[in-house]
Amino acid sequence: MPTGNPTEFEIRDWCIKYLARTLELPDQSIDPDAKLARLGLDSANSVYLIVELEDWLGLEFTPDLVFEHPTISDLARYLAGRVAGENGIG
């Protein structure tokens, strides 16, 4: 049932598309289980990623977000939990 909140899968998909666009790589070359550094995400681009996620999800994150959740899969799992939690579901 769609609840209006993005799911873990949707967040993962969004991250893949965003990073492919920003880093100018094909979508299929973005491995969600690879370390973000391996994709070439430097600190400036991780800050921009965090800002985009904040805008989309309506939450605030610390600059350490990407350090603490170093792959797209980790990040999506954590963010889905936060989104659900903030809305009193999870």
Binding site: L23, E24, S29, A34, K35, A37, R38, L39, G40, L41, D42, S43, A44, N45, V47, Y48, I50, V51, E60, P63, F67
Partner: protein
């Protein structure tokens, strides 16, 4: 005796007070503490909801004396101390504490957790510091790895949050530096394997501060708002020390706060009615890109008189976009003020004048690529150059043919050479590089006069305006930070055995937004041709560059063995490789 202060105000010296003369930054500190003890000197705005932290001039002086006392108990004058601080006011306290103790501060970026090839090890080997100054909570909390990393250097850790605030250095024991004494070392030049520490004397610092004051038209009321890191020469000299020099308030934001919320910088300018705020070109682009009108409600930027733009090439379209976006909030396009400088000149070499607005010249792009400044003849063959202002008071600037070393006439492109009292004494313990860079002589002119070779190319236009058109030195500037291509090439070649040593080129190209992006061209070993996992190699290269240089590489091009352009003596021809990349004429493997 009456004494004139930097800002032109008059000051009665107190009977018991220190002698007030401006021969060193220690004098400036003493004067500020006497003259305006209760004025706020610095305010740090932490991210989000934490409350601002502030220091008056008198409180800063007292804190710095406590630091100086601690340093002098454990060390002696002339010792070096690296400053490793997270964003905040501790850097400032430590810096002035060093000056009062006669210890030489060495600002340094905190090495990143997972990078091992940054300049920090080579900087420590070069200047052999006695002290590593930081906060105890940093090395005991977030970054315990720093202690391990620096263990072999034998430095003493000096925790600024653990000193006894009650015991201050007695006044008569405070260092009284002469103008020639070293104020600090600035390591922003040279590759990561061979960093060069610019020796900035007190005279250099005072002279450049005075030149900046005149060019910016600064007074005590010239409040600053800055997010540029204090270990960056622009963050330190053009922001935090300039405001201090004129007795103004400097409001500091953490660099990451700015990157995350650039409009917060503009709001702080509004809140504190700041007159001066600036940064590298990308900062202005970032504000435009992140502009949201709902986040700019009630912001009035009409107080902002000097929006300086430096540390990377200044772009006309950036200035125009920024002015158009923020004019509705009172931003005056005439306050945009391009600036040019480098650590070897203490900092500033040229800039416009307050309120004059930027000057541009439209030239032929193809002629510029051949280092000639010529008016365009065809409609599309245009490049708009933004002038970097005029030379500063007391400075001489020459455009010189870099091989023959003859002075060139106005309008001709050559290397920018500079002379004046702000030119640093040289590089720390590096006579060869010092002679090469700081002791240049113009053919057929006074042999007594030494010039600084900037390594940048430019010309002097009408009215003495300096235009920077390129570089002789191979240097990549991304987001205001200098990167040396040979460092990046070495990182690439070490990350995978299929990549040929000394057969790669790193350079930058501008993307459609005008942002410089890193490109790497690299030869493959012939023996690996048959067994290549290209995806694996590309990922390894991306990862290595991100970890070691904190850069996102935009394009990696793997090419056939022996096809990278080199000189007959085997030097990499990076600009030719760049041209071939742009023309699509590289022998690409993928």
């Amino acid at each position: 005796m009456r004494v004139r202060t930097a800002s032109g105000d008059r000051l009665e010296p107190r009977n018991s007070g220190p002698k007030v003369e401006t021969s060193s930054f220690v004098d400036v500190l003493l004067r500020r503490a006497v003259e305006q003890p209760n004025d706020p000197a610095y305010i740090f705005l932490p991210d989000r909801d934490d409350r601002p932290v502030s220091l008056t001039f008198a409180a800063l002086y007292e804190r710095a004396r406590s630091v100086a006392f601690g340093l002098s108990k454990q060390g002696q004058k002339g010792d070096r101390a690296i400053l490793l601080f997270p964003p905040g006011l501790d850097f400032i306290i430590a810096f002035f504490g060093c000056l009062l103790a006669g210890v030489i501060p060495v600002p340094m970026m905190i090495p990143r957790r997972d990078g091992s090839r940054d300049a920090s090890a080579a900087i420590l080997a070069d200047c052999s510091p006695h002290f590593a100054m930081t906060r105890r909570e940093l090395v005991e909390g977030a970054r315990p790895d720093l202690v391990e990393r620096f263990r072999s250097t034998g430095m003493d850790w000096f925790f600024i949050d653990a000193i006894d605030a009650g015991s201050a250095m007695p006044r008569d024991a405070l260092s009284c530096p002469t103008p020639d004494d070293i104020a600090f070392l600035q390591y922003t030049s040279g590759s990561t394997s061979a960093p060069k520490g610019v020796i900035v004397s007190h005279a250099n610092l005072i002279q450049n501060s005075e030149m900046i004051r005149i060019a910016f038209g600064n007074t005590r009321r010239s409040t600053y708002v800055s997010w540029v890191p204090l270990y960056h020469d622009m963050g330190l000299i053009l922001n935090a020390l300039q405001s201090f020099y004129v007795g103004a308030l400097c409001v500091l934001l953490a660099p990451v706060s700015f990157m995350q919320r650039p409009l917060g910088w503009l709001r702080a300018i509004h809140d504190y009615r700041a007159e001066v705020a600036g940064g590298p070109n990308f900062a202005f682009d970032l504000c435009v890109r992140r502009h949201r009108s709902d986040q700019m409600q009630d912001v009035d930027l009409s107080c902002w008189k000097v929006a300086f733009n430096g540390a990377e090439p200044v772009r006309a379209d950036t200035i125009a976009r920024f002015a158009a976006t923020f004019a509705p909030y009172g931003f005056d396009a005439k306050s945009a003020q391009p600036a040019y400088g480098m650590a070897e000149a203490t900092l500033l070499i040229s800039t416009g004048r307050r309120g004059a607005g930027p000057v541009t010249r439209t030239l032929s792009r193809t002629a510029l690529q051949c280092h000639a400044a010529v008016a365009p003849t065809q409609g599309e063959d245009l490049q708009i150059l933004v002038g970097c202002g005029r030379p500063l008071v007391g400075e001489r600037l020459a455009i010189v043919e870099p091989e023959g070393r003859q002075r060139l006439a106005p309008g001709l492109i050559g290397e920018v050479w500079v002379a004046g009292p702000h030119i640093a004494k040289g590089y720390w313990h590096n006579r060869e590089a010092t002679n090469l860079v700081f002791r240049a002589r113009i053919e057929g002119e006074d042999a007594e006069c030494c010039w600084l070779r900037t390594g940048d190319l430019g010309f002097i236009g009408d009215n003495g305006e300096l235009y920077i058109t390129g570089r002789i030195k191979d240097l990549i500037i991304i987001r205001g930070t200098n990167h040396y291509p040979q460092d990046i090439e070495a990182t690439v070649q070490d990350c995978h055995p299929a990549l040929r040593a000394h057969c790669g080129a790193a350079f930058s190209v501008a993307d459609p937004n005008g942002d410089e992006q890193l490109v790497v061209v690299q030869e493959i070993e012939r023996t690996y041709r048959q067994q290549l996992d290209i995806g694996e190699i590309l990922a390894s290269i991306r990862e290595a560059i991100t970890k070691e240089h904190d850069l996102a590489v935009r394009k990696v091009v793997l090419i056939r063995t022996g096809t990278l352009p080199q000189t007959t003596s085997g030097k990499i021809q990076r600009s030719l490789a760049r041209q071939m990349f742009l023309a699509g004429s590289l022998a690409i493997l993928q």
